[in-house]
Symmetry: C2
Subunit: 332 residues, 2 copies
């Protein structure tokens, strides 16, 4: 991976940076942002790390996560240089309308709007754009960037980058896991990241209440046309003492069944109002299905919102999956 | 890791090998055995690959798994040189009483009997013993062995070794995952192993019936004294159309709860007769707990059988956990 020369000059010449990541941040966004902040500050630069939303519980073991600010009130954006991480539009970071001195984008998401993406998506935001859809994680890009500048990878930086890469590769299980990813992982372990410590924190820190909610969700399972549908209602939150943030990852469990094409997880967000998360494997494209409902995402992980009764929300999903390739993208 | 010179000479000088692994084989045993068989045969040697038990379903995607024979009737053991893989006694391979020309052991399990192990465990079997408790998997040892001999790692060998290592490290999540493990993984990917293909086959090929059984097991959960206890009865098999082999890995699910010390999975194997699988994290030693019931295993994964009603089996486990360190090993 080649770090653009222009980006290196930008980081060298400027003195203060506003590092922003996408709303609803996960491990790759948070780990990459904190690692970059630590690296730049080790060079005497000033950084502010921002996300509109708070750091989710499962990422709070990351050293330096408390750098995140969730408000732009305390500073003057126009005095800063923006580095947008793990997303490529101001809208995705929830900071549309703000203006900065100069801006750089570092992201591994496909820059062009996906088939059916919302209109108005900014495609070409940023004075410098470093977008590598082939990179398994933004954390991989930050790793190469830090190495290229010649900054030492401390233990704290290593933990953040390892976690970023682990989250976006399903801890080396998804098809973005390459030999290069494992080589970088090995280097980060050598620099002080502990795979077991990180995995325990990413995957084994559920509360009993959250586990009880999972069991309820699994009990709701209904399989139709190779789509496994599970549900969490607000009543279930009350019964178990949990909340929406506890449903993170629920959509992945039914994927272990070999005859399931899509796992669809329906989360109640209002009266007859549902957030639907779709997960698939391999060639089954759920980004185009979500697009039919004005949602978005990747080929194997997407989502949308729908106002309907649960039963008709399910029905419309089943119909949409059937019609998807006929009505939408003609690309494979 | 240093491959013993004596072992290299043995493999070079002898012409036929009987490669045997432990009863109830899993990915490390099977992948290592098949990879070694392929490597030796590429050198013009004759090999027989043996396990007393059949290759479990989740390993049948491994190229060459059909090399396994489950009977010793077709050949004369005394005409062969034995290579015992992923275990270090004839008893563990279910071939006690057989005798071979010459024998070598390649294993990463602790050779000394664990505190409370069954009496009569052979500690020093083998003319050549290469035992590396520090190795994450026997697959790691076979990787170095093949490289040392100078045999090309083909795609099929790479898939077998990658799977062996993946299984024994929880796909790079357990605390035996080192920088070296990831470096070897990277080399195996470069040689043709696909992480996503392998992970899908290892973790995402459940039947709907098996998933239904898991939900039933999770519904049985009872948490007492930080021990999460789940149960599968023969009635549940009937209801879901499943069998004991479908419960593989069930014991791991409750481990995602942070306040659980031990996950105990009770599987009915007869009238008032239970197979209990224990799983723990970090310093919580379940090998010594299983030993109290004449069972065995590792620090974080062990098991035993008990004749009792379900309720008293649970009670006796809770008592045993409490008394474990007082009554047994004084080592930390």
């Amino acid at each position: 991976m080649k770090v653009p020369r222009k980006l290196l000059s930008f980081l060298k010449e400027k003195d203060n940076f506003f590092i922003a990541t996408h709303i609803n941040p996960e491990g790759d966004a948070i780990g990459s942002a904190v690692a970059l902040s630590m690296a730049l500050e080790s060079q005497g630069k000033k950084t502010v790390v921002y996300d509109r939303d708070i750091v989710p519980e499962f990422c709070r073991f990351l050293p330096g996560h408390e750098r995140f600010k969730n408000s732009t009130l305390d500073f003057q954006p126009s005095a800063f240089n923006l580095i947008l991480l793990d997303c490529n539009s101001l809208e995705r970071a929830g900071i549309e309308g703000l203006s900065f001195k100069y801006s750089a984008v570092i992201d591994h998401h496909e820059p062009a709007p996906l088939c059916g993406a919302r209109p108005g998506t900014e495609e070409n935001f940023g004075d410098i754009r470093w977008v590598e859809p082939e990179a398994a994680a933004t954390g991989m890009m930050i790793f190469y960037l830090i190495k290229e500048i010649g900054i030492k990878i401390t233990r704290d930086i290593a933990i953040n980058l390892y976690s970023a890469i682990a989250v976006d590769t399903g801890t080396f299980r998804y098809n973005n896991t390459t030999a290069e990813v494992l080589m970088v992982g090995a280097e980060l372990i050598a620099a002080g990241a502990s795979p077991a410590y990180i995995s325990n924190h990413l995957y084994e820190t559920w509360s009993k209440e959250r586990f009880a909610l999972l069991i309820m969700a699994l009990n709701s399972i209904e399989i139709r046309d190779e789509i496994a549908m599970t549900v969490v209602t607000t009543r279930m939150y009350k019964k178990t003492g949990t909340g929406p943030e506890d449903t993170e990852n629920f959509s992945n469990f039914p994927r272990i069944m070999k005859d399931i094409k899509i796992s669809a997880f329906f989360r109640e967000i209002g009266n007859n109002y549902w957030k639907v998360s779709l997960r698939s494997r391999g060639d089954v494209n759920v980004a185009t299905v979500a697009a039919l409902f004005k949602g978005g995402g990747h080929r194997n992980a997407s989502g949308y919102k729908i106002k309907a009764s649960l039963e008709s929300a399910k029905e419309s999903l089943i119909k949409a999956v059937k019609s998807e390739h006929r009505k939408f993208c003609h690309k494979p």
